[in-house]
């Protein structure tokens, strides 16, 4: 089951490689069908998932590189479950969203994109460190290509920067994985299997510190946490819309997911020791991201910096190490996928029409694009955590949990809520309000049917997740408890 979900995009991508490159719509159609099929497969995943069951479900465990004690071990719990659904949900929307924007090398684009899907889904399912690492690294290439080939004018710079940053982190993580392999168990029982390593007991504190640092750096860059965030604005600004959406929507979560799944359970004592540092960096990220976001003249950069702020919340909640904080943190990952994903789509909508992302080039769009404006405002509000929409649930639970563990952290982090209102509403004011005084904007058309099909599901998600969060929270409860037990035992 999981294997199908992971590899269907790759299979579809391979099929695309054999299609005639002139027939762009056929390529797009096949890509869309593939991603929809993948999403359809999530239905049995959803119905078959048992929220009450602890441990991993839909497990597949086959020998892989037996010589190394590495196996093809897949499985999901209440944490990865939702991230897989999120990835599969955003897939078709991205393909549909790029329908007209991508005109060159259509075939390669869709192959890269589907390949990327496989990599991301693999990361969320892997329970073997080598397998995880392979998926983690494999993803880099298509993402690099998406930015570097279909990106904006400074795409090469942005792509290289993305690559360097991520590689630095990955290399250290690889070293840590290898160290772990050689230092847990005897020569005969060495393994890369996450669950077995967890059972073998944790390394000594000193070693844990180094290992955690190596893993954490890799993940922190991906998140990205302050001060490792500067690749993000560039990558986002240059990436094509679908790239930005998937980058913000899913890729960043691999960092936060990495903390939850690997870095923290494997090295719990070190995680506790590092917690204050990470929390403080997270808070700086929340405030700093929001303040810098506020002064951006470029819409995409603004959204990119707001991601730094939002992901700061995710990190903070995770390290609150209580049920509310961690659940809120996971919830915020999903929210961010929906809201920020939608925001990038929205910026793409006007970019496709006007080929500029500068806030100053717009103004008064409410008049000509009322539907677009309404969707934009709803999504912006969800992003800044208006109660009733999804963002609030995550932020509230995170802050509630954080307050329980350290009220000063919560008080500082909560100021981010104020600044968020400033940057979002200020952008809305400058883009949509005022007189429609620029000649080029007077002929702008409102959302097309295709754009509606992309955006409306996201709006519906934002509302449903805000009003009925229990649908989602209920399914992650047990996994969060398991995670906390692993962490608490070491306390």
């Amino acid at each position: 089951m999981l294997s199908w979900i992971i590899f269907i995009p790759l299979i579809g991508g391979t099929v695309i490689l054999f299609l005639p490159k002139e027939n762009k719509n056929l390529i797009r159609g096949v890509a869309l069908a593939t991603s929809l099929l993948d999403l359809a497969l999530c239905v049995p995943l959803y119905t078959g998932f048992n929220a009450a069951q602890a441990g991993f479900q839909f497990v597949e465990n086959r020998p892989w590189i037996s010589a190394l004690g590495s196996s093809y071990h897949l499985g999901i719990d209440g944490i990865s479950f939702w991230l897989i659904l999120l990835t599969a949900f955003l897939g078709p929307l991205c393909i549909l969203g790029s329908w007209e924007a991508i005109q060159k090398r259509v075939k390669e684009f869709h192959f890269s994109f589907l390949f990327l899907q496989t990599g991301m889904l693999g990361v969320f399912c892997s329970l073997d460190l080598v397998l995880f690492y392979v998926f983690w690294e494999v993803m880099l290439v298509p993402m690099y290509l998406l930015i570097g080939v279909w990106g904006g004018p400074r795409r090469i710079y942005a792509a290289v920067k993305f690559f360097i940053y991520t590689m630095v982190g990955s290399m250290l993580m690889l070293v840590a994985i290898l160290w772990l392999y050689f230092n847990t168990g005897d020569a005969g029982s060495r393994t890369f299997d996450l669950l077995q390593i967890l059972q073998m007991g944790k390394p000594a504190l000193q070693a844990q510190m180094w290992l955690f640092a190596a893993f954490a750096l890799a993940f922190a860059i991906k998140v990205p946490m302050f001060p490792f965030h500067t690749w993000l604005p560039d990558a986002h600004v240059e990436a094509p819309t679908a790239g930005s959406v998937i980058l913000a929507g899913v890729l960043l979560k691999m960092g936060t997911y990495g903390f939850l799944r690997f870095a923290m359970p494997l090295f719990p004592d070190a995680a506790l020791k590092f917690a204050p540092l990470i929390c403080i960096l997270a808070i700086i990220g929340i405030i700093y991201g929001a303040l810098v976001s506020m002064v951006q003249p470029d819409m995409k950069k603004l959204v990119a910096y707001s991601s730094v702020s939002h992901l700061g919340f995710v990190m903070l909640g995770m390290f609150a190490l209580n049920q509310q904080g961690v659940s809120g943190s996971i919830y915020q990952m999903l929210n961010h996928g929906v809201s920020t994903g939608a925001l990038f789509f929205l910026v793409g909508v006007v970019y496709d029409r006007r080929h500029t992302r500068m806030i100053a080039d717009y103004g008064g769009l409410f008049r000509v694009m009322p539907k677009y404006t309404t969707v934009f405002i709803i999504i912006a509000l969800s992003s800044i955590g208006l109660p009733g929409l999804n963002g609030f649930v995550g932020e509230f639970l995170i802050l509630l949990g954080t307050f329980k563990s350290n009220w000063i952290y919560a008080a500082f982090a909560a100021t981010g809520v104020i600044f968020a209102a400033v940057y979002m509403l200020w952008m809305i004011q400058r883009v949509f309000y005022g007189k429609l005084d620029k000649e080029e904007n007077k002929t702008l058309t409102d959302l097309t049917l295709r754009e509606k099909v992309v955006l409306y599901p996201l709006v519906v998600m934002a509302v449903v997740m805000g009003i009925f969060p229990q649908i989602f929270l209920g399914k992650m409860d047990v996994a969060v408890q398991t995670f906390l037990q692993t962490m608490v035992v070491s306390r």
């Binding site: 303040l291 809120g328 008049r367 208006l386 109660p387 802050l399 329980k404 005022g434």
Partner: protein, 659 residues
């Protein structure tokens, strides 16, 4: 203290009260441009009327129950349940929220109807009614919630609607800015509200009113936690209810359509802070420090805003500062422990202030059409352009005058009873300074309101051209004015004090809600009961003060109109200071807004992010690249290099492992 077990009754119809406006919002919102202008207003108003009917039903159901058990609840579903934290979407109607829903749906309905006339011809009428219904929905959630978090949903939701409606005419950038300002300033308050909830959960393990209040009742007076919770909640209230130092958004909020000012920025939303403080009366009674702060801020705001009101010429600005001032009164009442009096004033104020705003809307509407007709471009809100409107807008004039008498505190009118109740309670509590400030502000109120009436309706019409004149508004607007005028008179009769031979029914009505707080206050013992003679004397003083204010206004603007100019000349700098609202906006801009923005832009972003962090990264990258180039001398482009390195690395590692 004695503990009475309150028996709540389940009710299956409570959800209908917010559901109707929500339905109206969805229908109008989804139909959008396909909806006809005329039907949009009727649909929205109809939904409000249905909601009002259910509210009345619920009210009578409550009335038929024994006083101690007046509590109706309905639980819809569990909103969030994570670990030991759980919150339901559930409603509570008790005497306090019952009054609130009646005000919100009743006054709300009238304002919806009035809007049909006021907004006629606007191309975005459908959007207007969509927002207005959405507002009513959130406001009802705010007052009906049985826990702080759900109430907070309404709290922020009404803020959103306020934002949307202030900037309703989006092409005017000034209005957009005013809307954003309202939202952001409110968020500062909401920050306090959120922290209050976190601390509350950490202290009591719940956010449900019932649990929190029951737990709190057992704790000693003056604990740090409860003091902090109440102060943080009050920070939220200063934002939403426009008190010092966060009042600055409300005067700007007048940029919205006038019915919006009446509904949101006078009658309902801005009173949410008062409601929240009154709702939390047990907590406040346990925190004397917080009560002192509430009373102090309330009194200071009441006076401060009243002084600004003295020197404004924009009719809506006068009313805006008046609202800030009156809200100060309500907090003053809560601060001296007279929560019932605060809510009583909230209710009467909803009648007469909504009426004043709608009246001013009728005036502006008439002036606007008059200028449109005569091709003039003068400001239809500046009272200096008005005068003598009495004969052209008789209904508007009479209803406006009634509301003015009510706000000025003339005996018999609703405002007299509620304001007097507040002043008496503050006197009785022994906080004489608070009382004196309140009485002084009452005098100023009487003055600036009569000034407005004289400038607007009396004397000569100052924009006349000899043959044209403004016309009275249509029935759809004047009928709501008349109904509100009736309420502005009789609305206070439910609270006629015993000393005047009345029954003060409203005090008894609120008794079950505020009894615990009153008992606590009684336990603290605030001194002997003053006799009825004292109460009558205090009442007399407020009447004299009010009449003095009116008298001076008459002197200044009717009998000797040359005086104001002389006063202005004499007062010079002081007048400039007051006229410019003490430059508070300018101070905030220079002291807070601008520094944050400049720091973010020039330091955090352009210097720290770009130069330091990025510079470091690029430096390392360039340095590495330089070395790499020297070492390899083969430059095939970045991608393949990195890919090659990675592939090679993996091969080496795997080889090493297999080996």
């Amino acid at each position: 203290m004695e503990h009475t077990t309150l028996i709540s009754t389940e009710s299956a119809i409570l959800f209908l009260i917010p559901a109707f406006p929500l339905l109206g919002m969805l229908l109008n919102g989804l139909l959008g441009k396909r909806q006809k202008e005329a039907t949009a207003g009727i649909l929205a108003s109809g939904m409000m009327f249905l909601s009002f009917l259910v509210s009345v039903t619920v009210f009578f159901q409550l009335l038929g129950m024994p006083a101690g058990n007046r509590s109706l609840t309905q639980t819809l579903y569990t909103w969030m349940a994570v670990g030991d934290f759980s919150i339901n979407v559930s409603f509570l109607i008790d005497p306090l929220s019952a009054v609130m829903i009646l005000v919100v749906t009743g006054v709300g309905f009238l304002i919806h109807v009035y809007s049909i006339g006021y907004m006629k011809g606007d191309r975005d009428v459908v959007r207007y009614f969509t927002y207005l219904n959405l507002f009513a929905f959130f406001m009802l959630i705010l007052v009906m919630a049985d826990n702080y978090l759900l109430s907070f949903v309404g709290w922020e939701g009404v803020g959103l609607c306020s934002y949307l409606l202030i900037g309703f005419w989006y092409e005017d950038m000034e209005k957009a800015i005013a809307g954003k300002k309202a939202f952001v300033v409110n968020r500062i308050g909401d920050f306090g509200f959120m922290l209050a909830m976190f601390l509350m959960f950490a202290t009591f393990g719940s956010l449900d009113f019932k649990t929190v209040f029951a737990q709190a009742a057992g704790s000693p007076v003056g604990t740090t936690a409860i003091t902090a919770i109440t102060l943080l909640l009050f920070l939220g209230a200063t934002g939403k209810s426009a008190q010092l130092p966060l009042y600055v958004w409300l005067p700007d909020a007048m940029a919205g359509p006038t019915p919006v000012s009446a509904l949101i920025h006078a009658a309902t939303m801005v009173t949410a802070g008062v409601y929240m403080v009154a709702r939390s009366n047990i907590l406040y009674s346990l925190a004397p420090v917080s009560l002192g702060v509430v009373a102090g801020i309330g009194a200071a705001t009441a006076l401060f805003a009243a002084t600004i009101g003295l020197a404004q010429y924009d009719i809506k600005k006068v009313l805006a500062y008046s609202t800030v001032s009156q809200l100060g009164y309500m907090f003053l009442a809560c601060g001296v422990g007279a929560f019932g009096a605060g809510i009583f004033h909230l209710m009467t104020h909803a009648f007469f202030k909504a009426l004043l705003f709608l009246g001013s809307g009728s005036v502006i509407h008439a002036m606007h059409h008059y200028y449109h007709q005569t091709g003039s471009h003068q400001d239809p809100q500046d009272m200096r352009n008005m005068g003598g409107l009495k004969k052209y807008l008789p209904t508007t004039y009479w209803t406006f005058a009634i509301a003015t008498l009510a706000i000025a505190g003339i005996p018999g009118f609703s405002g007299f009873f509620s304001k007097d109740e507040i002043l008496w309670k503050s006197f009785e509590s022994g906080k004489l300074i608070i009382w004196a400030i309140g009485a002084l502000a009452a005098g100023l109120t009487a003055f600036y309101m009569f000034r407005a009436v004289y400038l607007t309706f009396h004397g000569e019409f100052r924009s006349g051209n000899g043959h044209d004149h403004p016309h009275e508004s249509p029935k759809v607007m004047t009928v709501p004015l008349i109904i509100l005028a009736v309420l502005s008179v009789i609305g206070g009769w439910v609270g006629i004090p015993h000393v005047l031979g009345g029954g003060n029914q409203i005090e008894a009505w609120f008794e079950p809600v505020f009894a615990p707080a009153r008992q606590l206050a009684a336990a603290a013992e605030l001194g002997g009961e003053p006799g009825s003679g004292v109460e009558l004397s205090v009442m007399l003083i407020s009447i004299v003060v009010a009449l003095t204010g009116i008298g001076i206004a008459y002197l200044f603007y009717r009998s000797k109109p040359e005086i104001p100019a002389r006063v202005v000349a004499k007062a010079g700098a002081l007048h400039t200071l007051v006229y410019n609202k003490y430059y508070v906006d300018e101070i905030y801009e220079a002291g807070v807004v601008s520094p944050i923005q400049k720091t973010s832009d020039f330091f955090l972003w352009r210097f720290f992010d770009v130069k330091i962090v990025d510079g470091l990264v690029n430096g390392v990258a360039n340095w590495t690249a330089a070395i790499a180039t020297k070492v390899r001398k083969v430059q095939t482009g970045y991608v393949s290099n990195y890919a090659l390195i990675m592939a090679a690395g993996v091969v080496i590692i795997v080889a090493w492992l297999v080996w």
